[in-house]
Each structure stands twice: as C-alpha cells, then as structure tokens.
Amino acid sequence: MLYRENGQFKTSYRADQQIFPILQDRVAIGLLLVFAFAVVPLVAPEYLFRAILIPFLILSLAALGLNILVGYCGQISLGTGAFMAIGAYAAYNFQVRVEGMPLIASLLLGGVCATIVGVLFGIPSLRIKGLYLAVATLAAQFFTDWAFLRIKWFTNDSASGSVSVASLQVLGFPIVTPAQKYLFCLAFVVVFALLAKNLVRSHIGREWMAIRDMDVAASVIGIRPVYAKLSAFAVSSFIVGVAGALWGFVHLGSWEPAAFSIDRSFQLLFMVIIGGLGSIMGSFFGAAFIVMLPIGLDILGVRVGFDTAFAAHLTFMIFGVLIVFFLIVEPHGLARLWSTAKEKLRLWPFPH
C-alpha cells in the first residue's frame, strides 16, 4: 500500500539508472542518513558508540571490501585479516615516520599498501580457483602475522610489538570523543559504499560478475581475466586496508597482530556469507548480525542472571545455531531476506 512504485514513471535514462529507482527507497535512505549523521551523534550513549556502532561501521566497511572480491568476483579469500593488518601497520608507519602527515592521507596510503600486497597475493588467482585459492590467500594471513611479529621496523622498534597512535585530528578538528570518531567512520563508510555501489554497476563490476559466473564464457566474450581478477583484488584490498587502518587507529588505538588474526578473516567471511554474497546491503546486514548479536546475547545472559562463563558458552551456542538456521533457510543471506520482505511489502496488505 505504502511501498508501491505505481505512478512513478521514468522518462530518462538517468532516472532509470538510479541506485534507488523507487521514491520510497530514496526517502528512506535519505532519512536514514540524516538520522545517522544528525540524530545519532546527539542521542546515542557512549557505550553504543564505542562498543557497537564504531566496530559495526568499520567491520561493515571491511565486509564490503571482501564482498567485492568474494561476492562479485567469486574469488574466495581467507586473507582479509592480513590485508586489514597491512592497512593498519602501513598507516601507522606513515603516521609516525612522516612528520605532519594528515590522518586521512595516512589511512588512504595504508589502503594503497594493502592494494599492492593484495594484487601480489591475487596473482595466483589467475591459475588456481575456488578452495585452492582460499588456501593460497591463507598464506597472506600467515605471512603478515609473521612479518608484523618479527620485523621490528614495521612496529617502529617497539619492544613489545604493540603499536599505538597519538591523538587523531583532521584539518585541525580533533577526533577524540566517541561521537567524533563515529562520524569520522560513518563518513568513510558512506563514501566507500557509494563508490563501491557505483563500481559494481559499472562495466568493471559487470566484468567481475561475468568472471564469477563463468570465467571461460567471460573470456570468450572478450573480458580479460587478468585485468578483471586483479582489479577485484585491488579494489577489495584497498577498502579492506582502509577498514583495517580505521580499526587500529579509531577503534583500538593500540594494537598487535593478534587483532588481525585468522579469526578476523573468518569473521569477515561469515559476515559476507550471512549478509549475502554479491550485495552491498548484505555487507551491512552481515556485520550487524555478527557484531551485535553476540554482544546482545551476552548482555541478555548476564542480565538474566547466569554466571559469566555459562552466559559466554550460551552465546556461542545460540549464535552457532542461528548461523546454521539462516544458512538453511536462506543460503543467499540476509540481503535476500530483505528483498523478499520488500517484495511482500509491495503487495501488502492484499497479496492476492
């Protein structure tokens, strides 16, 4: 009833090619953005910012990056944590070694370094596919773990191998309070999500999807696999690298390689799979599911009065069951559930 496109005629190509062709969607997204940028910083308590919103935003950015590689180009990667680590440590090195380096520049340069390494580790994808590629990207994970633990230069010779960043500021504005950090991350996420969305709608994105669906057919119609696969690796690791730099700089403030361990890679892969492969929206759903649900369950367990250990175990169990449940019911992830819901809403309340 409310959600119908009846009467909305598209009279130009521009109108037909919008990201959100339906007026209601545009309004909803606009309201959401206003809410996120203007209302949330005023009303949300500190806990919500620091423990939920900031991790959620940064991990959705990382999931978005991974989704480009796995969901759009079909190249399974288990090296996401590694690319995050490279982004974080590279940004850290730019920050401490170059006097007066602006924060945003070092974050982006962190992403550039991750891109270079990502492309390097993407080269095997030209010869190997599927699970074998996953194993090859796993090598990236082990290599970076090793490098950042062993090579002292990367950690600025810190005795303990842990690095930390000084007070953050952008063009003289300090990024100190949780609300400022939140807005900073939000701005990054919005810009990158917009870029990513447009990228996957462009000819590059279509090349990726062609490669994903059938690489032989794609190369027959004139798509160069080298270019398509490596560009997917490059874009993906750039976004993941920036997300890693944000994770270190904004969320943790001080980190060690364990913050970007293999667990992080799996966590992000789960986000992408549960959220929905090949969907920008799905990355956000997946991140929300994986970040918020365990915390919510944990708080619920403690509030009900279970002891801490039992609550923690219970969280693991329920969380695991929910993952299995969602994968059985909707293998295409939460994003597909979302579009099913939208389809139903179009017909509501008279489905027949």
Binding site: P45, E46, Y47, L48, R50, A51, I52, P55, V96, D145, L149, A159, S160, G161, S162, S164, A166, S167, V176, H251, L252, G253, S254, W255, E256, A258, A259, S261, A288, M292, L293, I295, G296, D298, I299, L300, V302, R303, D307, T308, A309, A311, A312, H313, F316, L322, F325, F326, V329, E330, L334, L337, T340, A341
Partner: protein, 445 residues
Amino acid sequence: MKLKSLALAVTLASAGASAILTAPPAFAQAKEQFFPALVYRTGPYAPNGVPYANGYVDYLKLVNARGGINGVKVTWEECETGYATDKGVECYERLKGKNGGATVFQPLSTGITFALTEKAPIDKIPLITAGYGRSESTDGNVFKWNFPLTGTYWDAADVILQHIAKKEGGWDKLKGKKIAHVYHDSPYGKEPIPLLQERAKLHGFELMMLPVAHPGVEQKAAWLQIRQQRPDFVTLWGWGVMNGTALKEAQATGYPRDKMYGVWWAGAEPDVKDVGDGAKGYNALALQHGAEPNAAVVKEVLDKLHAKGQGTGPKEEVGQVLYMRGLTQAMLAVEGVRRAQERYGKGKVMTGEQARWGYENLALDQPKLDALGFKGVMRPISTSCADHRGAVWARMHTWDGAKWNFSSDWYEADQSIIKPMIKAAAEKYAAEKKITRRTPEDCQT
C-alpha cells in the same frame, strides 16, 4: 515459504531484542563502590583465568562481609573477555559507567592493557596491572593512570636471572652460557626481552629467542631447537595451555625441568597439574605470594564465605596460586580506595579520579597487611608519583610433584639497570604521544 516467514520474524525479533538490550540502563547514583571485573572463564586461557576470577570476586565478597570500606559496601560485575583485545574493549565500555562509575580496571591481559592505556586517561579511570602490562608504566610521571603494582616483567626477568646467577655462584659464571627464552608471541611474552638483552650484554651470556604462537599448544619447533642447541637454562613466559604444553614438551625432549624458570604467570597449579611428576623440579617466580593455604585471609574466606555456601568456585582451590593472585589484586584495588577515603572523606564513594590518588599514595606497611590477613603473603608496598609499582620483591617456588614450595629467599629486582630503561622507554612513549611530564604540583592532586 513458511520457514522463510519464520526466518523473517526471527531476524526482526533479534534485531529488536539487540536494540533494546544494547541500550544501556539509566545510571543510578549508587552508594556502593563499583569494581568491574574483566575475567575470562572461557577460551584457551580459562584454566588460569577461572581461579583468578574466583579469588578476585571472593575478596570483594569478603570486604562486604567485613563491613565494607569504612562502611561503604562494594559491588562488582563480571564481563567475559576471553583474553581477546576487542572483547576486552567492549567490556570496558560496558562496565565503565555502570553503578555510579568504575573505580579501577584490572584487565589481566597485556593486550587489553595496551588498548585501555589509551582510553583510561580520557575516562579518568585508573588501571591496575599488578605483575603484567607495560613495564615503562612504572613511571607515573608519564603514565598517570597506570599502576603496575608489585612489579613488571622487567623486574621478573631480572629476578629470574639473579636467581640463576646466585645458583651458579655469581654473575661472572654466566659468561658463555646459553639461555633460551620460550615466550608467548604477544606483547606479554615480548615485554621482558629488552631486559634480558641488557643483562646478556652486561654478563656475556647468549640468548635464544623461541616464540610460540597463540594459544601455545604447538611448540614442537621451539623444543626441537632446544634439543639441538641444549641451552643451559630456559625461561618460560607462557600462559594458559602453553605452560602445560611446554612442560610436556620438555619431558619429551628430556630437558631437565629444574633448569626451567617460569614467570609468575607460568607457576600455578593448572600449569603443572596435568604433568604431575613430569614437572617435578620446575621453578617459577612467585609474585610475592605462592600457594598460601595457611594464610589468615584464606581461613577467613573459608569461614565467612565457603562455609556458608557463598564462596565462588570450588573450595579446594581457595589458597592456590592464581586464586591468591586474584585475592591480592582485589585487595590492592580495595586498599587504594581506603587510602583515597583518608583524603577525600571516610565512608564516601570514591570516583575513579579520587581512587587514582589512593593508588598513587598507597602505604601498606606490614601491620596493615597483617591486619588484613596477608601476613607472610605480601610485603609492604608504597607507591609514589615517580614509582607506580610500589615494590619489586619476588621469590622462587618449585613444584615437587604435588604442590608448590618456596625454594629461595626474597630477591629485589636491580633498579640500577631497570630504572634507566624505564626512563628511556617512558620518554619514548611521551614523545610519540606528545605527553608532557607531570609537574610536582600535579603529583599533589
């Protein structure tokens, strides 16, 4: 299709539920002193985390049974970190504002300590990292909010080397010897390395660095190197499952256990229990206390709590090494508040900022400790602006196959070596973070 609508319903319900749950409760102004407890009762480090958490909570219960801190009751809440840094940060955020504000955080993880060191000064909540954390945070002029009470890893490494030197008959006997440092590959295991290197330079012994990846169940490579190179001594910087595994590997390699020296986190019952006789002769540092089944405070806990069924965890573990560690750390947290009350008003709830003054001016002499039931468990401790440790004493204890027995006298870490290192490291940190040293006036506040 039905299943799909069910899925939709579940999604909406869980989204709504987490939205409600994660909204924090209204902060009531409490009349109680709140001690958040970051614990890990799950994960690979749980065998060691659980007794610590039990001791910590039991002491807080005991404080209430004794009538509170000058009448102020204490309250606490646990949060499970699983030893993971990001989970620890979430717990910190969750607990710091609850029940009128957190008094102090004791994360029991070097990784979490590093992350919280950046946050604590902003939130004005002190951090006690008794026996772990950043060594340079001893320098209270730079690290205003960190309190590595009773010693750091540099002190620990120094005491172990002193003990080895004494056994060998003097520092000059170490020349040409080979010492292998088997460590957890994290900030925790790496902390002592600068001191070990400094001592190696001074006395001419050789160091072998053998890192073990988290969580520490895979150590074959490290022990293969030990088998090949036969170091004269092994220092073990492990935690949780890593310690037991190291001892089993030593047994399999045939490396003499009495040449192995663990840090104070590698010297508790859960580390050696499974190895039993195989760990006989293994030495570890005791962070002042060892296993103290006969201490007055332990008897009091058993009488006042466990006898009434109010104790935490199994009764048999009361008085074991890590239980005592939790107990003493809770005691230090509480006594800091008591000290702060002397200045800011007895019988009042202290804020984190006020408690910080208490931790910086701790003056626990022997009569006070004895009165608390810590006779023979702890030595006097007094902190100041320049020294946030308060004491640098430690002993060795040795596993005899059934229990830990003290096997050495007290050692004091050699500050003539450590002090310049702390100063240099703190200066470096201050320069990186653009922190200016605190003025003498600031020390009064």
